[in-house]
């Protein structure tokens, strides 16, 4: 795998290599489910972070690392998710787009199996062989059906190595393709009729499980059969309710991106708060003081807020030569909120005219934010 500097986005097992190592060393005496790299308690720590740094040894040197919080929201949900993954059932993370389902899924896989890349990326065009296995046709013709000619797909690999398989956007696949995994989830056995015995049956190694993710509010998704639903435990991931937490998260993510891009710009948290307050209020349809707001049809998730914050920071940096400004936030809001529905623009204008206007005298940021609403057109 290339080093983390050469790729745009590192997988969590690379990005948090030191944290995982420290947790593993700390974890030696704890019992773990078979083939898990970390114990459930350490997986939990990896996701929700620790207050104190953890000591570890690397190349005979004593070091310590702070375990950062990776997921903001319901910690109890994480406990349930980890317990599910140690059981016989798969884990299905559902929720609105942009609520960090995939983020949580990859971090869980990284902490449990040390590999978040054993992944099926579900689309309308996903086929059964992209899930289970396919063939190298040249070898198949030359040598006939054999393990050598077989190209294992993520499900096969997961079963063979006792690893977590991530099935992203499961409901985007046609129902008959989704149903491929029904019997595998319950029997933990994959039949490969093309191969001669004993290779015709693959028994899943302990540690194998599936983390699925699915959107509940999007176009182009398919229903799940009740048989498949029964084989998953569902966890609903909701958008962050606390503006404070969302502000912290958006600020952190923006800072991370800017550092990655080689830009040493600070991200003013009080300006980010303008954005997260707007997102929070538009998402809930109610302002902080209880006034009803027309909700846009666009998805207003934390992920979108991070995008707006990053784009606005880049705009401020390159065009205005300042740190993130309220004006650049407004300019970048339009592209996120107004997508295929022009009515959303009216809703956004109305929100600024009524709700933001009332706050413009609170401080200079709110004032600048309101003044910039003239660009909403």
């Amino acid at each position: 795998m290339p080093s983390s500097e050469k790729i745009m986005r590192s997988p969590p097992e690379i990005k948090n290599k030191e944290e995982l190592l420290a947790l593993k060393q700390e974890d030696e005496k704890r019992s773990k489910p078979a083939n898990w790299i970390l114990s459930p308690k350490a997986v939990m720590k990896f996701i929700v972070g620790t207050k104190e740094p953890i000591k570890y040894i690397i190349d005979s040197q004593k070091k310590e690392v702070q375990i950062t919080r990776k997921f903001y929201g319901d910690d109890i949900l994480i406990q349930r998710a980890i317990a599910t993954l140690a059981s016989n059932r798969g884990l299905l993370l559902i929720g609105e787009p942009g609520t960090a389902k995939s983020w949580l899924s990859e971090h869980l896989a990284a902490a449990i199996s040390g590999d978040s890349l054993n992944i099926i990326q579900g689309t309308a065009g996903t086929t059964e062989d992209q899930i289970k296995y396919s063939w190298n046709y040249a070898l198949l013709l030359a040598k006939g059906p054999s393990l050598e000619a077989m190209v294992p797909a993520p499900l096969y690999k997961g079963m063979e190595e006792g690893k977590i398989v991530r099935f992203e956007e499961i409901t985007r696949c046609p129902q008959e393709v989704q149903d491929t995994i029904i019997s595998i989830l319950s029997e933990k056995v994959l039949a490969i009729p093309e191969l001669p015995p004993p290779a015709d049956i693959l028994f899943a190694k302990p540690g194998f499980n599936i983390i699925g993710t699915a959107n509940t509010r999007d176009r182009g998704v398919n229903e799940m059969s009740s048989a498949l639903k029964r084989r998953f435990n569902f966890e609903t991931i909701s958008p962050l309710e606390s503006i404070e937490e969302e502000t912290r998260l958006v600020t952190e993510q923006t800072e991370y991106f800017l550092v990655k891009s080689g830009l040493q710009r600070e991200v003013p948290q009080d300006v980010v708060e303008l954005l997260t307050t707007t997102f929070n209020e538009l998402r809930r349809g109610v302002s902080e003081d209880g006034r009803q707001i027309d909700q846009p049809t666009a998805v207003m998730s934390t992920a979108e807020a991070v995008d707006v914050s990053i784009n606005a920071s880049l705009y401020s940096h390159y065009i205005e030569d300042t740190p993130l400004s309220p004006k650049s936030l407004v300019l970048n809001l339009i592209g996120t909120i107004v997508k295929d529905n022009r009515e959303d623009l009216e809703k956004l204008q109305k929100y600024f005219d009524i709700i933001i206007k009332a706050r413009k005298d609170t401080n200079k940021h709110w004032n600048e934010y309101y003044e910039a609403s003239k660009y909403l057109r």
């Binding site: 459930p40 109890i76 009740s226 609903t236 809930r284 009803q292």
Partner: protein
């Protein structure tokens, strides 16, 4: 270890001490388990329990085999002479005396109940040793000096309140360090589950430690203000007295907070003189009240879960009572859910149990706790979004774990406070308790005393006492008979009324208190804004004004987030009624009602643009509610109902894409307010009936909507009549047949007189003479009589066939 804590260790030895102080958390099955074992093993000569000393006469009744928990000792003190200066401060007015009360509830798993039962069975002396309510209040008044006692102080001074144990920095840190959600989860983990397998000495020692450190977290004056020190002084006097009277071993069962202080106190015996009249009675109690739901300060979250666990603990042979209860709860709940059509299979139950066990292990517990069960239900029984499909499942789970049990008592009921209050209220409202039905005429608008009477009668109806029935009167729930100025009631008393009152005793000591608590229970069971609004109305009808104030906030929050036009208008209608009849229903807190009107009106008109895309199956309901909204704006003079705002939004929302019926109601409203003329209506109608075949049918829908809002347009506009007539004339037969049912519905709104008028005008238009005048039809009395009989026969058949 501190010196006191070291000394406490000495008190752990049963053989070395004459008095043994057993600490409890009230309503803890594991405490009850260890305590029962200890009594069985050592058979003390006297058992002293933290219960009111003026309720010692109730001990035989509590121990009676006919008494089935949950029951409670209810202590009360009515401050008729305003000794505490709180009448009119904590009560609605000076004339209503402050009622102080304290509750000592006993569930089957309460350690105090088990100690009492075991001691009585073993022939030991049993006594309550806590300071009686009136004495406690007198002491607190003395401490407070010039200041008045506050509601907070009174609540936190409730004898079994575990505020001191639960709320302190030491416990908060323990909860945080162990990743528990709250004190209940932490307690269940470390004391109920892990404490069950400990020896009773180890268990008591752990609890001593917890209580001792918790106690040091509260300053002495705080303990004094809340009468803790005074109560302990009194307890010690009673212990000393019993020490003199009985030579054998004495077991003192008190809350852990007292158990770590009593051994160190110095004092002398002092006999308590029992009062001439008792202010303490035994009443049935309910698990709902024992849970935290109704604000009981020593409540446990899931009484039924603890009851089931206790039953298993009693069997002694079971080593894992919490696991067994968890499995039972998951299976029983899955069965309940199957009955209500939620698809939960046996495989799901197996999976849920295994997940609960996994979670328990993950959280470091040896058995399943209540939170593990709820988490397993969340993960395994909810097959979809938690906020959509999960709400009902979690509600049922919580209800199941709380339980619906109501206790029974063996004693005579005449001194049960709720019955006493019922008798006082009937007397005060001059209602005679007769076993023959009696009519009462209540002039709710004229006389305030009659309004009080009406409120009381509504409370009795709400509690289903079978005592009063409203025969006639303005019905705000259905919006009917609002013109009536009086209520006509029939009242009849029989012994069943008392039985019903006892059933309600668990909800409160007065009729009003029981009504409040039952209404609170109903409120907690729903999140439907319309239902909550009905409850708001009921609270106003019953004069439960403090609950009314609470509900206003709840309803306000629901209205702010509610997205449904139909529900919002239904709520608005009730708010307007409440605001319009303020003298009767909202004598005090009027402004928040106006704010609700304002909020509901703004929210409902904000939804009007979305009605354009409403699904077909909702159209009839939507047009009905739109009509209601328009009528409210037309008829009410409340400032919040801004007619120009409504018209503005309707004008902007009226497009060709609207459903024809919605177009009809929109245009009907705009025509009423002269915003459009009849030519606009005619153009739209012609657009439908002269359009392609697919939209012709829409013509009748349009008319239906139009006439719903404004019938007069057809009565006044000859041109519209002519256009409709012409359109029907030109219509091919087949199409007319298709249109006919819709047209019938549209014209149904007209009264016979109006239909006659329209027929006359049509005849005129077509150059015909009306053959029959409706006015001229005078049916014979025989015909009317025959028709009336026929009508009655049909009604009887309909009833008989349950049509």
């Amino acid at each position: 270890m501190s010196e006191s804590l070291t000394k406490l260790q000495k008190f752990l030895d049963w053989d070395e001490n004459r008095v043994f102080y057993f600490p409890v958390r009230h309503h803890s099955p594991t405490c009850a388990f260890h305590l029962s074992k200890l009594i069985e093993e050592y058979r003390p000569e006297a058992v002293l329990i933290e219960g009111p000393a003026d309720a010692n006469h109730l001990i035989p009744a509590i121990a009676d085999s006919r008494t089935v928990p949950p029951v409670a000792i209810y202590c009360y003190y009515v401050d008729k002479n305003n000794k505490f200066g709180l009448n009119g401060v904590l009560t609605p007015n000076d004339e209503i005396p402050m009622r102080f009360h304290s509750w000592y509830p006993f569930a089957s798993f309460s350690p105090e109940y088990q100690a009492l039962k075991a001691a009585v069975t073993g022939g030991a002396e049993v006594r309550f040793i806590d300071l009686p309510l009136e004495d406690r209040l007198n002491h607190q008044r003395k401490i407070a000096g010039e200041k008045l006692l506050t509601r907070d102080i009174l609540e936190n001074s409730q004898p079994w309140a575990e505020f001191f144990l639960e709320h302190n920095r030491y416990v908060s840190l323990l909860i945080e360090k162990t990743f528990c959600r709250d004190f209940n989860e932490w307690w269940e983990h470390f004391f109920e589950i892990e404490g069950y397998t400990k020896s009773w000495q180890d268990f008591v020692w752990s609890l001593y430690n917890l209580a001792y450190i918790s106690r040091t977290m509260h300053p002495k004056d705080y303990l004094q203000v809340h009468a803790i020190l005074e109560r302990e002084k009194f307890m010690l006097q009673q212990i000393k007295l019993v020490e003199e009277l009985f030579p054998g071993k004495i077991l003192v069962v008190t809350g852990a907070l007292h158990s770590v202080a009593l051994p160190f106190l110095k004092g002398k015996k002092k006999a308590y003189k029992q009062p001439k009249t008792y202010n303490a009675v035994l009443t049935p109690y309910s698990y709902l009240r024992l849970s935290e739901k109704t604000g009981y300060a020593a409540g446990v979250p899931s009484p039924f879960f603890y009851q089931c666990t206790w039953q298993r603990m009693k069997e002694h042979t079971i080593s894992n009572p919490f696991d067994e209860t968890g499995l039972f709860a998951l299976l029983q709940l899955s069965r309940n859910l199957q009955e209500t059509s939620s698809a939960v299979s046996t495989a799901d139950s197996i999976n849920a149990y295994s997940l609960a066990k996994n979670l328990a292990a993950f959280r470091g517990r040896s058995q399943i706790a209540r939170e593990d069960i709820l988490d397993a239900i969340t993960s395994c029984y909810i097959k979809g979004e938690r906020d959509v499909v999960g709400v009902e499942i979690l509600r049922q789970a919580e209800k199941f774990l709380i339980g619906e049990e109501i206790g029974t008592i063996s004693t005579d009921v005449s001194d049960i406070p709720i019955i006493e209050d019922f008798n006082i209220q009937t007397k005060k409202n001059r209602i005679k308790l007769l076993e023959e039905p009696k009519s009462l005429r209540v002039e709710i608008y004229k006389r305030s005393s009659h309004r009080e009477k009406s409120r009381f009668l509504h409370q009795t109806v709400f509690l289903e006492l079978g005592f009063a029935e409203l025969e006639k009167g303005p019905n705000l729930l259905f919006g009917t008979d609002l013109h009536l100025l009086t209520e006509q009631w029939t009242v009849v008393w029989d012994p069943h009324v008392n039985a019903k009152l006892i059933e309600n005793a668990a909800y409160g000591s007065t009729v009003a208190e029981a009504s409040t608590n039952r209404l609170k229970e109903a409120v907690a069971a729903t999140s439907n804004p319309v239902q909550l609004t009905y409850f708001l109305l009921r609270s106003a009808q019953m004069g439960l004004f403090s609950l009314f104030d609470e509900l206003i906030e709840v309803v306000g929050a629901h209205i702010s987030t509610n997205q449904d036009f139909i529900a919002t208008v239904d709520c608005l209608k009730i708010f307007v009624l409440l605001a319009s009849y303020r003298e009767v229903f909202v004598p005090k807190n009027y402004r928040p009602v106006l704010q609700l009107v304002d909020k509901a009106f703004t929210n409902s008109i904000a939804k009007i643009p979305d009605l354009v895309n409403a699904p077909e199956e909702q159209i009839t309901d939507i047009t009905d509610r739109f009509n209601t909204l328009s009528q409210l704006v037309l008829t009410s003079d409340l400032a919040g109902l801004d007619e120009s705002l409504l018209l503005d939004i309707v004008k902007r929302s009226l497009t060709k894409h609207c459903h024809p019926k919605i177009q009809g109601v929109f245009m009907g409203l705009l025509y009423t307010f002269n915003q459009i003329n009849e030519a606009d209506i005619i153009n739209t109608f012609e657009g439908f009936v002269y359009g392609n075949k697919n939209i012709i049918k829409s013509g009748s829908d349009f008319l239906e909507g139009l006439f719903l809002l404004n019938k007069s347009v057809l009565l006044t506009s000859s041109e519209l009549r002519s256009v409709i007539n012409k359109a029907i004339n030109h219509m091919p037969g087949e199409l007319f047949i298709q249109l006919l049912p819709g047209l019938r519905k549209a014209f149904n709104r007209f009264t016979p007189r109006e239909t006659n008028f329209i027929a006359d005008k049509l005849a005129e238009l077509l150059g015909m003479k009306p053959s029959l005048k409706l006015d001229s039809i005078i049916p014979s009395s025989e015909l009317l009589l025959g028709l009336s009989e026929l009508d009655e026969t049909i009604m009887e058949r309909i009833k008989k066939w349950r049509l």
